[in-house]
């Protein structure tokens, strides 16, 4: 496609999507699945713009307090993330050993990300005990409940849809939010390391994603379940960001 590669100061300096290596050829079912997943993602991303806390990033009124509130509310989900991912791995039987290996290595990469998030919180001026004391907000409860439920089912390939949304958001945080938040709040890089690191780490995950999509997205039933789970996770993730607990508990 005809697309330039010059970025402009003041604009976005990096793509929020991951590059597809030359020669990736998905099977026709996986192609259709990717078309649907792209739409779920784009709708999710657009609707995030309506979430009051995040809208302030677009409007340029996001503050240090907003950043702290965000970190306090997202930490529980990051901690729980490694739990549903490892549960997913254990739910795949021997006929899915390849995908199980992929998921296990993904879990290893991310299962202590929350510690980075806690350091960011302290670096941005928050008290460690405040973030440690936070419970899951209403949306995090729903998201966690759904993911643990789905990951407990045998061979839960539909959770590829969950990974699509959550990995996509990691990329978005890294490429669209981290620098902008620093610019708006005056916070330094050590307050947004969770966001930037997570995005950086995700490029590898994306390659694995395409390989997995090609291997499990082989019929209409599989595609429908992946797309539906992506939609549910997108909605519940947004709920988590809408149901922000502003106060320290």
């Amino acid at each position: 496609m005809n697309n330039g590669d010059i970025s402009i100061e003041g604009g976005e300096t990096a793509p929020a999507e991951e590059s597809v290596p030359e020669g990736v050829v998905l099977n026709p079912h996986a192609q259709v699945c990717l078309q649907h997943l792209l739409r779920v993602w784009l709708g999710f991303e657009r609707d995030l713009s309506k979430v009051p806390l995040l809208r302030r990033i677009d409007l340029g009124t996001f503050t240090v307090e907003d950043h702290q509130v965000f970190l306090r509310n997202i930490r529980q989900q990051v901690i729980e993330g490694s739990r549903w991912i490892t549960r997913t791995a254990s739910s795949f039987d021997r006929n899915h050993s390849e995908i199980r290996s992929t998921i296990i290595s993904h879990a290893v990469d991310e299962h202590r990300d929350y510690e980075m998030l806690e350091k960011d919180y302290v670096a941005s001026g928050g008290k460690l005990e405040d973030i440690l004391n936070m419970e899951r907000n209403i949306g995090s409860e729903a998201l966690h409940g759904f993911l643990m439920h789905r990951s407990s089912r045998p061979n839960p390939i539909d959770l590829l849809g969950a990974m699509w949304i959550i990995e996509g958001l990691g990329e978005k945080m890294a490429h669209s939010w981290a620098e902008r938040i620093q610019e708006l709040t005056g916070l330094s890089e050590d307050s947004t390391r969770f966001m930037t690191y997570h995005g950086h780490n995700d490029s590898e995950h994306m390659q694995r994603f395409y390989a997995t999509l090609d291997s499990v997205g082989v019929n209409e039933e599989a595609i429908a379940s992946i797309v539906k789970t992506a939609k549910v996770v997108a909605r519940l993730y947004r709920l988590q960001l809408e149901e922000i607990e502003y106060d320290v508990q």
């Binding site: 330039g4 590669d5 970025s7 003041g10 990736v24 990717l34 739409r39 784009l42 713009s49």
Partner: protein
């Protein structure tokens, strides 16, 4: 009722202006060359464009005149008596007068008696709004022929005096303001015309209108391109809320603004709409022979396009065609000017039966519009 584009016309004012002459026309603000011009021009890759103002920033052609000239060319090329034109639809970001609608002024110039008129207001996609309304009018068999015009005179908003007058604006305070300068080096002037009829032209190629669709995302996203506010997040006043228009101008409320940070959303929503049309079976990527895209510049490094290829719905680069780089970004007028040249250029072979997909995204508040045409011959 099937509707065809049976004739086209365009008008580009004055000579083609090269990259390094642009500031001579628009003027250097406070006689200081812009520090952003080269960077923005490099990114948008536009080589030549036209302006309806001269080197002293005096208007050489009104917006109404440009629209009229394009219309005259279109009608002169048509196999139709102009008395048969029952409707005139005119699109522009800003006509010469805030009121009445620009269609009234153009109708008077064209001396078309007692026709139905429509003025659409918006930015780039206003042309598609006008086209769709005229198309529907013919489909409902209310008229046999309709003239659809789009014309832009952006340079009046971009001349140096506008910036020099904004003495209390963010631009003045910071001496530089990307959001108000960005479009200065992007937009230029011109007009395009399409004649719609209920049958193809008796000679030559016509374009059958297969479908026109639009998806607006203003409900979710903030304003990205606008005129009328000072561009401060905490100030909700618009230009008419100031005590005088002079105060509004001083405060920068009459400057054309683009929030470049939000622009990436436009491509995303554009892709979403396209995928929606594919999902609905309206558009079949493999059947698209030509893709005419009004995409105002190539300043995105957007991997989402590569994802479309991986998903099997990309449109190969050799099927893309645009004259943006030689005719400039003329906003609402762009697609009509593009279609006019597309049917005449030697750069591309157009065959009967070819399908032409057009995409006109508007960054204003994220309206994405699409249409498909099929090349036919009587």
């Amino acid at each position: 009722m099937t509707v065809y584009i049976t004739s086209t016309g365009s008008f580009l004012p004055g000579p083609a202006i090269q990259v390094d002459q642009v500031e001579n026309i628009l003027g250097a603000v406070h006689d200081k060359p812009s520090s952003l011009r080269v960077q923005i021009q490099k990114a948008n890759k536009i080589q030549t464009r036209h302006y309806a103002i001269d080197e002293n920033q005096q208007t050489t052609h009104s917006n109404t005149e440009m629209a009229t000239n394009a219309a005259e060319q279109c009608l002169d090329r048509a196999f139709l008596n102009r008395e048969k034109v029952g409707m005139l639809a005119v699109a522009s970001t800003q006509g010469d007068l805030p009121a009445p609608g620009m269609a009234s002024m153009v109708q008077a110039e064209l001396e078309l008696p007692e026709i139905e008129i429509l003025t659409t207001h918006g930015i780039c996609s206003s042309s598609i709004m006008a086209l769709k309304a005229a198309w529907n009018s013919l489909r409902l068999e209310e008229h046999e022929a309709a003239l659809v015009l789009s014309s832009e005179l952006a340079s009046r908003l971009l001349k140096k005096q506008r910036y020099e007058a904004a003495t209390t604006s963010t631009f003045a305070a910071k001496r530089i303001d990307f959001s108000t300068e960005f479009l200065r080096w992007m937009l230029s002037d011109g007009a395009g015309a399409l004649l719609l009829q209920n049958k193809p032209a008796p000679k030559g190629l016509s374009l059958r209108i297969d479908w026109i669709r639009g998806f607006s995302h203003a409900h979710a996203l903030p304003t990205c391109m606008s005129v009328g506010s000072a561009g401060r997040p905490t100030d909700s006043r618009t230009w008419q809320d100031y005590n005088t228009y002079a105060e509004a101008e001083q405060d920068g409320a009459l400057l054309l603004r683009q929030d470049v940070r939000l622009l990436d959303n436009l491509m995303r929503m554009g892709v979403d709409g396209y995928l929606r049309l594919v999902e609905e079976g309206v558009s079949k990527p493999s059947e698209v022979d030509h893709f005419l895209c009004h995409y105002s510049s190539h300043h995105f490094k957007n991997k989402i396009l590569e994802m479309l290829n991986t998903a099997g719905v990309g449109i190969p680069e050799e099927r893309w065609w645009t004259n943006l780089y030689s005719r400039g970004n003329t906003g609402a007028a762009s697609l009509f000017i593009m279609l006019d040249e597309f049917l005449r250029t030697d750069e591309v072979t157009v065959n009967v039966g070819d399908r032409v997909l057009c995409f006109v995204p508007e960054s204003g508040r994220f309206n994405t519009t699409y249409l498909q045409l099929t090349v036919v011959e009587e």
